[in-house]
Amino acid sequence: MTLATALKTGDLTQLPSRRDEDWRWTDLRGLIRQVPPASPAFDGEVEAGPFDALADDSILFVNGRQRHAATQGAGETIALRFVSTGEGGGHAASYAIVVEPDTTLVLLESHEGKAGGYLSDVTLDIAVGEGARVERIVLVEDDAEAVNVVTAEVDLAPGATFNQTVLTSGARRQRIETRVNHPGAHAQVRLDGAYLLDGQRHADQTTIVTHGGVDGVTSQLTKGMATDQARGVFQGRIVVAPGADQTDARMGHHALILSDKAEIDAKPELLIFADDVSCAHGNTIGALDEDALFYAEQRGIPELEAKAMLTQAFVGEVIERIEHEGAREIAAAWVAARLGRIG
């Protein structure tokens, strides 16, 4: 039951709804009244992507169709772009990435939506070989009327490292889901995220990490902000299978609500079937610290600017955990620009 199947078959009942426990806060069936026609092919010029300057090569999808593929051995920094031209319609794309053992990949993924409503579904399969190292940065900038579902299935081999940061500004409905099959065996996972939402935007960051073997580490930090009538959703699930001892998993989700009509929903789950583990999660939702705000205003900083400044510092913790320097700078600039616009 996915958006992709509904787009393909035209069958609305294939859309996940509030009755599906994992989709209770991201209702697609209630929103999409009819399946739109397939998005038209687009041959025109596509503007440069946000990460082009950093990448050795790029892979480009436009309206669900692949336009450009990376050359073999092009380098270890690849831009992966999904562009929706915004002429209405629906499209789905899927792509598989295999990372050879003991290699490094920096995957700079962007979802770029031009103005206009569209339905987009992207499925990624990422297999990370033994001892390989992947950092995936996902920057999602959809149109306010768009519906976008991005699902990544990540398979890790022993000793692999997978680090991810998702940055999103939301859409009409948007879900960025990451499922990680964690073998333990000294593999390491970092799954971070940040969302900055205004207007009537909605963003759902869902993660499922399944620890299947001993000695695995997972660290998660998601921070977000919702103002106006926006809605932020965080669902994090950590599963520790029987026998996956010495698992060390931590998850944190912290969010700010800056208006009385915004909403944040969170479900941090731990499903533990092994006893020798150390798992924890923390979740906080609240307003900006009044004292800090007062302090800033007292020193002559206007209220809106002070709010943006404090929010930037709040989200900054996620940005600082990005290892790739260039990507970190772009992410920081994105946060600043986004907050400037919201303020």
């Binding site: 426990e21 029987p242 026998g243 969010a255 609500i257 800056l258 208006s259 009385d260 009509k261 915004a262 909403e263 944040i264 929903d265 969170a266 479900k267 941090p268 789950e269 731990l270 499903l271 533990i272 079937f273 092994a274 006893d275 020798d276 583990v277 150390s278 798992c279 924890a280 999660h281 923390g282 979740n283 906080t284 939702i285 609240g286 307003a287």
Partner: protein, 489 residues
């Protein structure tokens, strides 16, 4: 010497589920199964007015349309709802019910369970010891309620639900089903159709109930279910503390217990509700038998500044499905939930709470401790939500799980929904096992492994035990140790 004796007693009681005995008592049953006729039968047995029967029948019709919930992390074979007795009661003689006329065999049961039903017996205890009034529910009926006169002098009504329907119909009609509507959920709906007895409490404005109230539930009859209904109303400025205990015989068949508890709090009222649930958990080796405990408990803080506190120690039952909740409607009202859930053998517990913040400046606190051992599963499932009008809402949640052994499981499934910009929600959860270092330290100082585990576990659950009334706390501490017996090594 006293200490030695206590140790011997504790060790002796560690042997098995000590409340697992059955009592041969002359009982009458409704025919097996569930139909409109059975609902009419129960209502007639209780001499109920027409409106009550209509209420039940409507609930029954709604129940037929509902589906059994499957979202909880519990796994049990499909229940045949036609294979249970919905009404079982000890045969009683005619005439007014006083303690002298209660079947001596029944009294013996409660004596064996350590429940004081004789008012003198309570009074004869240690001087200054707290007294508590008891409503004893045996299968489908309340057999006796103590201290009624003394409570009546303070204006407090404490009686069985059947009596309340007869004596105080205006209160029952006003409040019954107003917190948990008949069709709230599958099990609550079933309860509404066939509920047999339970306690009714009304504390008038400004009255602080002079003693602790308690109800003791006992399932005795084979193949029967217990469906009690409790309604507590604390009027403006009233206070009451209520305790609830439950046990059942050891049997190979599963028995159903589907209760509904409704609490109503008006302005400035306070209710403290404590439960020690020790239904038969089933055979620890095979998982055979045990009680299916499907309970709906909810408090409605209608009044401003009202306060409700749920404390539960869940050690029994094969399956537990229970989420005592607080609807915080009144401005400045507050809700608390303290829980210890211990599972061992093949037990499965899916329990937690809902804190629904509707009013401004409402506060809630959740402290849940889960301990799983053997082949058991323990899940904390909770919801904290703040509606747009609940400005200044505040919640703190802490859930910790402790795992003992390789074959058990512990899950944490919290839902948090914040819908305004002026509330603060904090949630933290941890899952760990008993620390080897701490165990080693205790054993090195001469404690046996079992004692060391009991000591560490008691430290783990201390925050919750402290919330229980004194005499329950001691009992609960022992119960936690007993439930974990045989879980190490």
């Amino acid at each position: 010497m006293a200490a030695v004796k206590e140790t011997i007693d504790t060790v002796a009681s560690l042997e098995k589920y000590e409340h697992g005995f059955t009592t041969e008592i002359d009982q009458e049953f409704a025919p097996k199964g569930l139909s409109e006729d059975i609902v009419r039968f129960i209502s007639a047995k209780k001499d109920e007015p027409e409106w009550m029967l209509e209420w039940r029948l409507e609930a029954y019709r709604r129940w037929l349309e509902l589906e059994e919930p499957t979202w909880a992390k519990v796994d049990y074979p499909k229940i045949d709802y036609q294979d249970t007795y919905y009404y079982a009661a000890p045969k009683k003689k005619d005439g007014p019910k006083s303690l002298d006329e209660v079947d001596p065999e029944l009294l013996a049961v409660y004596e064996k369970l350590g429940i004081p039903l004789k008012e003198q017996a309570v009074l004869a205890g240690v001087e200054g010891a707290p007294r508590y009034a008891v409503d004893a529910v045996f299968d489908s009926v309340s057999v006796v309620t103590t201290f009624k006169k003394e409570l009546a002098q303070a204006g407090v009504i404490f009686c069985s639900m059947s009596e309340a329907i007869r004596e105080h119909p205006e209160l029952v009609r006003q409040y019954l089903g107003s917190v948990v509507p008949t069709s709230d959920n599958y099990f609550a709906c079933l309860n509404s159709a066939v509920f047999s007895d339970g306690s009714f409490v009304y504390v008038p404005p400004g009255v602080r109930c002079p003693m602790e109230l308690s109800t003791y539930f006992r399932i005795n009859a084979k193949d029967s279910g217990q469906f009690e209904r409790t309604l507590i109303i604390a009027d403006k400025g009233a206070y009451v503390s209520y305790l609830e205990g439950c046990t059942a015989p050891m049997r190979d068949e599963n028995q159903l217990h589907a209760a509904v508890v409704e609490l109503v709090l008006l302005d400035d009222a306070e209710i403290k509700y404590s439960t020690v649930q020790n239904w038969y958990p089933g055979d620890p080796e095979t998982g055979k038998g045990g009680i299916y405990n499907f309970v709906t408990k909810r408090a409605d803080c209608r009044g401003d500044r009202s306060k409700v506190s749920w404390t539960q120690v869940e050690t029994g039952s094969a399956i537990t499905w229970k989420y005592p909740s607080c609807v915080l409607r009144g401005e400045g009202s507050s809700g608390e939930f303290y829980s210890i859930a211990v599972t061992n053998g093949h037990q499965q517990a899916d329990t937690g709470t809902k804190m629904i913040h509707l009013g401004a400046n409402t506060k809630s606190r959740i402290v849940a401790k889960g301990i799983s051992a053997g082949k058991s599963t323990s899940t904390y499932r909770g919801l904290v939500s703040a509606h747009p009008k609940a400005k200044g809402a505040r919640n703190f949640t802490q859930c910790d799980s402790l795992l003992i052994g390789k074959t058990c499981a512990a899950h944490t499934v919290p839902y948090i929904e914040a819908r305004n910009g002026q509330s603060v929600f904090e949630h933290e959860a941890t899952t760990t096992r008993l620390s080897d270092d701490q165990l080693f330290y205790c054993q090195q100082r001469g404690l046996s492994q079992e004692e060391a585990v009991a000591l560490l576990v008691n430290g783990f659950v201390k925050d919750v035990l402290q919330q229980l009334p004194m005499e329950f706390a001691v009992e609960a501490q022992k119960l936690v140790a007993i439930s974990l017996e045989g879980s190490v090594g």
